[in-house]
């Protein structure tokens, strides 16, 4: 009833009072006023920096001059002729291939094993989840000792079963894999949560039908569960890829990109160029490429993200 009264046809309001007009205008402005704080902040710390970093990547400061000069793609050229950057890109790819499929597969396995809500499973889930709760820096400082050659936790127990350890963080052939190990350990439990949620949404009758049709556990997993979990997998994949590109705390604490650039990841390279070498142009160019990668990925997965945002309830 009330809505009819307020939404009177325009003709009836032949001469709207000034007061009514003001109220109407204010009501029309309200949504934008509510969004303004967030939009201003998003503009200032997400969109403006992108514009700025693109601009920076096309300019460089010539030694001895205060103003920067347009250098075209010069920064990109010097970026791609920098062996350390190319190595960082390759390392990041290896790091992605090493961490993403393994941690996702483990996550699915954990979720399948612990999907029934029993008391024991609740505790086991918490234990597996725990690594993802602590700061990556704290995890790294623990692994500092665990990976210590000879006396660390790893080598100590390997020696007990008659195996010789390695120089986990000091050997250029092994160091990146050690970091991959930390990342899988840290993230698998986190991704497990998404699969646990995904498993709860599976239609029980489909699984039952497959069982009646004589499908064994592996066939059910391969042909029923995994395909039905595809949306979850897509969502987790996006998160995992973002993590691959944005988390380098353990590199900073444990290896500083070494030995001989073997653990240098792209974001660490950016951090190093900006923070330690003061090579702003190269840092900007590498940032632009990372942003472009994330943008490409977000366009590809906009649907997934939207679903994730909608599922947020």
């Amino acid at each position: 009833m009330t809505s009819i009264a307020t939404e009177a046809p325009p003709l009836a309001e032949s001469r709207p009072s000034r007061h009514a007009m003001r109220i109407k205008r204010r009501r029309r402005a309200l949504p934008y006023l509510l969004l303004a704080p967030s939009l201003l902040l998003l503009a200032g710390f997400t969109y403006w920096p992108i514009v700025r970093v693109v601009w920076d990547s096309l300019h460089d400061r010539i030694l001895g001059q205060t103003a920067s000069q347009f250098v075209g793609l010069g920064n990109y050229a010097s970026l791609f002729s920098d062996q350390a950057f190319l190595k960082a890109v390759i390392n990041n790819l290896v790091y992605a291939v090493g961490t993403v499929p393994l941690s996702m597969a483990l996550a699915l396995l954990f979720a399948l094993a612990l999907q029934r809500s029993t008391r024991a499973n609740a505790i086991l889930r918490a234990l597996l989840l725990f690594p993802s709760m602590v700061p990556l820096v704290a995890a790294a400082s623990l692994f500092f000792f665990i990976f210590l050659p000879g006396v660390g936790l790893f080598d100590y127990y390997l020696a007990k079963i008659g195996l010789r350890g390695a120089n986990w963080l000091g050997d250029p052939d092994i160091a990146l894999w050690s970091l991959i190990g930390i990342t899988v350990w840290k993230n698998a439990g986190y991704y497990m949560l998404f699969y646990l949620a995904g498993l709860q949404t599976l239609p029980g009758d489909v699984l039952e039908a497959a069982t009646i049709d004589g499908a064994n556990a592996w066939q059910r997993l391969r042909h029923v569960i995994v395909p039905l979990l595809a949306p979850t997998t897509a969502f987790v994949l996006v998160i995992a890829l973002i993590n691959v590109l944005t988390q380098v705390d353990h590199v900073i604490v444990l290896t500083k990109g070494g030995p001989s650039n073997s653990t240098k990841l792209v974001l660490y390279y950016i951090f190093e160029q900006a923070h330690e070498n003061f090579a702003a142009g190269k840092a900007a160019a590498a940032s632009v490429l990372s942003v472009a990668f994330l943008l490409a990925m977000s366009v590809a997965s906009l649907k997934t993200m939207e679903r994730g945002a909608h599922a947020a309830s």
């Binding site: 309200l30 949504p31 934008y32 509510l34 969004l35 967030s38 939009l39 902040l41 998003l42 200032g44 997400t46 403006w48 920096p49 700025r52 920076d56 094993a113 024991a120 499973n121 086991l124 234990l127 597996l128 690594p131 709760m133 602590v134 700061p135 820096v137 704290a138 995890a139 790294a140 400082s141 623990l142 000792f145 665990i146 006396v151 936790l153 100590y156 986190y190 949560l193 969502f235 998160i239 944005t246 988390q247 705390d249 951090f271 900006a274 923070h275 702003a280 940032s287 990372s290 942003v291 943008l295 977000s298 906009l302 993200m305 994730g308 945002a309 909608h310 599922a311 947020a312 309830s313």
Partner: protein, 272 residues
Amino acid sequence: MRRASLIITGLMLILAFFWSTPFLWTLVASFRPDSAIGMASLVPNYKPTWANFAEALDAGDFAIYYLNTAIVAFGILAVQIVTISLAGYAFARLTFPGRELIFYVFLLQLMLVPPILIVPNLRTIVDLGLYGSLLGVMAPYFASAFGTFLMRQTFRQIPRDFEEASVIDGAHWWQTLWHVLLPMAKPGLIAFSLVSLMAHWNEFLWPLMVLNEPRTQTLTIGLATFALGSEGGKEWGVLAAGTLLVMFPLLALFAVFQRQFVNSFMFSGLKG
């Protein structure tokens, strides 16, 4: 069937044990009195001591680190709750031209996560005169796309009847938001708070770039400095104790809010 599930539980028990060894070691090592000898052992074959904790507290300015970290994490959260409630309300309850477009402007921020923009954001922070300050660490996180979506969803699930009653009583939109919607949105707010607090309690790279003096450092920076400093000294018990000190508030929070934690994490995905 029953036997199979017992076997699975048994296997997972073994796996969870291996998964937990780093924490187990930290716990055992932090109470170990004599450094160096048998440091790697997981067996607590000693008389426990608080000495490592005392030394860790002594060596680092943990009190200041805790305070700074708390200021950063709770400061960000306080501002975020205001921004996400307002924006979430607008998306959930109001229709206006450009809503779709603005929604996508928010959506994209889920992907363009701040760590990737550290270089230009640091310049902005310098321009704003916030370099070296805790406010500089906090500023880029004051708006949260994830939080906005969460509030939007939470508000949407509240039946409109409640608001209509208060509107008929002549309440303004902010009164409705404050007295009707926000109290009912508590689960969403708690979930968001947990994720946001955890994300910023744990953050390292950005504060490392913005903060330049010992008295403004956060816990993660303090711990990293500490870990790197003890490299030569081999004071592993002290390092273990220090790590435990950093993790302790999270442990406590996890113990209290375990259920909400798991739930909020499940739908967080992208961190606050």
